[in-house]
């Protein structure tokens, strides 16, 4: 448990851990009735054969995943999927992480630093109790700014406010990478656009097979339809139709609500089975 509702799992997945690169993701299924859940690779320890995922317990499937304990197993794990982040020496780069996007930007920031970039990281949370992985981010950044929406950590503001301040200092920023809620990535892209700072965002549409077969993850980038699972998940933030992405993410809201309610009521009755699915 990293903070309320956010969990970090180390998975025994030697082959994937050896291959996975920053920006890529995996798909997992907890049990036979389970959904295929896409999750960004948060870290790898190839020598130990470990793949790290960090997820927010939001709906039924992630809550079910969250009921697993050390030593439990999941049914399926597929990856690494998607294209890796494009890493090169750009100069000064800003990495922006919002909420649970922070663990996802961490490997990107680390790779950018290793490639010789000056890395300024900005991470934002609703309040100080929700702050995640600040130490890890500090370790891979030349400068780290941690912001909270309510100012409870002493630095009030959104990540976009912090980004505006960094830009206002006048240092030439060669690239911005942003991972977080869709609205945050949209606002970050709006901030950087007038300054013509290339901005990469990592999109999180609904996915199913995540190998290019079903087309549910289609997004519009510069007026063209792309599949986030095979053409992405990273795209040019100045060209992404974020409103379409937000709308499409709402496709199954009623079903998600129904699933979650059933799951929670089974839990309330003490019928939970430790993630084996039997509690339904």
């Amino acid at each position: 448990m990293l903070s309320a509702g956010i969990k970090r799992f180390e998975l025994d997945a030697a082959e994937i851990a050896r291959k996975a690169q920053p920006g890529q993701f995996v798909v997992l299924r907890v049990n036979e009735e389970g959904e295929r859940i896409p999750l960004t690779v948060a870290d790898t320890m190839p020598d130990k054969g470990i793949l790290v995922i960090v997820f927010q317990e939001a709906g039924k499937s992630t809550k079910l995943l969250g009921t697993l304990n050390e030593g439990d197993s999941i049914l399926d794990l597929i990856g690494p999927l998607g294209r890796p982040s494009h890493i090169e020496k750009f100069g000064t780069v800003v990495c922006v992480g919002g909420g649970v996007g922070t663990p996802e930007i961490l490997p990107v920031a680390r790779a950018l630093r290793q490639a010789g970039n000056k890395v300024i990281s900005i991470i934002g949370f609703r309040n100080k109790d929700l702050i995640l992985m600040a130490d890890e981010m500090r370790a891979v950044s030349d400068e780290l700014i941690v912001a909270t929406d309510d100012g409870s950590n002493g630095n009030k503001g959104f990540v976009t406010d912090m980004l505006n301040q960094v830009i206002a200092r006048g240092e030439k920023i060669a690239h911005v990478f942003a991972v977080g809620p869709v609205i945050m990535m949209k606002m970050v892209s709006k901030v950087t656009e007038p300054h013509k700072i290339p901005t990469v965002v990592s999109l999180n549409p609904i996915m199913l097979d995540a190998t290019g077969m079903c087309g549910v993850c289609r997004v519009e980038v510069g007026g063209e339809t792309k599949l986030a699972c095979v053409d992405g998940p990273e795209f040019d933030g100045h060209k992404v139709d974020f409103d379409l992405l937000m709308a499409r993410l709402r496709t199954y809201l009623p079903e998600e609500k129904q699933s979650l309610e059933m799951f929670e009521s089974a839990h309330a009755k003490g019928g939970c089975c430790g993630g084996k699915g039997a509690c339904r």
């Binding site: 097979d209 087309g215 699933s259």
Partner: protein, 465 residues
Amino acid sequence: MPKPSPKKTPMREQDPKVRAHNFEEVPYGYTPEEAVEEAKRCLACKKPGCVQGCPVNINIPGFIGQIALGNFWEAMKIMKQTNTLPAICGRVCPQESQCEGQCVLGKKNEPVAVGNLERFIADWEAKQSECVMCEMKPATGKKVAVVGAGPAGLTVASDCAKMGHSVTMFEALHKPGGVLVYGIPEFRLPKTIVEREVSFVTSMGVKLELNHVVGKLKSVDELLNEFDAVFVGTGAGQPSFMGIPGENSLGIYSANEYLTRSNLMKAYLFPKYDTPIVRGKRVVTVGGGNVAMDSARTALRLGADKSILVYRRSREEMPARSAEVHHAEQEGIEFNLLTNPIRYIADDKGWVKAVECLRMELGESDASGRRRPVPVKGSEFQIPVDTVVVAIGNSPNPLIPQTTPGLETAKHGNVVADPKTGRTSKKGVFAGGDIVTGAATVILAMGAGRLAANSIDEYLKTGQW
């Protein structure tokens, strides 16, 4: 000998009104008595056209002759010499344009129901306590990697195993079978049958690695370090869209997504299964192939009041199996032929609420030999909908071509392979099925797999490319 009956022995089916609301299989299959009766219609021609009509050249008069004598075990032995997946083929092959299309009886009357008999013998075997095993050649020590556990891959794997090679199949999804599990619905091909046929293949010693996306986890070049030959049968897995305005609105599915949710993920059992699917009340399916029929019939079973098919040509040009078109009509699918969507209209939340279409008429023949549909000017009209399924075809999955240097591809991303041998431009790499031909049928993929397996065997013996 009495003259054979002019008509096929009919197969009993679920009542259309009942079955339109469940996912159970539509036909019940023959009883042994019905099978013998039907098998007796076969004239056992000296030069059987049916065998030539079959992409894998099953000894059709041979197995039917044994059924006629009541020797079901012998019939199955003959079947398995050439076809390890008969329960599937009997259900999904387009027999009317293959074996049955060449049957002498069919010139004046109805042909022998080869497909029904193939299905019967396979289902009969499944009920026995043991199954017919194939003759296995001694181990050669050679290793073959098969990428994709669909119809082509399963055929290559079983054939190569019979030849004594050590075979590993790599499958990207969490279940083997390819289109047989994600695409074809339960009511047409029960998944227990696919499982049984796949387990027959693994019983021959074929190893199966699920959840392994070749091109991402391992490349074809890496496989070539471990294996003596690689077969690529990754199918036509990338859905085509029409590229018309509004196509990314909510409620618009590719057939791949719609069917994968329902079949592979069992969304029709939501919320017992976690994957959801939109249960539309007015569903339009665009297309005229088997996949379109499967989608339109799935929509009915998910509770649609109206399931409407929109196809730009006429009934005659529909590429679907005639049995599927017939079943769809019986179940009450509304056919809107010579009609083509031109845009989708969404509500203020982004959900599709109408399809705007144009009426079409048939003009000159095109490259496929079918008459080209031409729009009728000013014929725009709208169909109110809440769900749309786009079933206009698939293009090859690009993952392997993109990650395999030296593998030649054609214009649409299809892998280039010799149609007689399956050899590609890259030494040791063979390909077959939809990844080579573009979206086609299960049996054509199996036919390509059969040819590729033979040439893999030859390559492994001689080392010559």
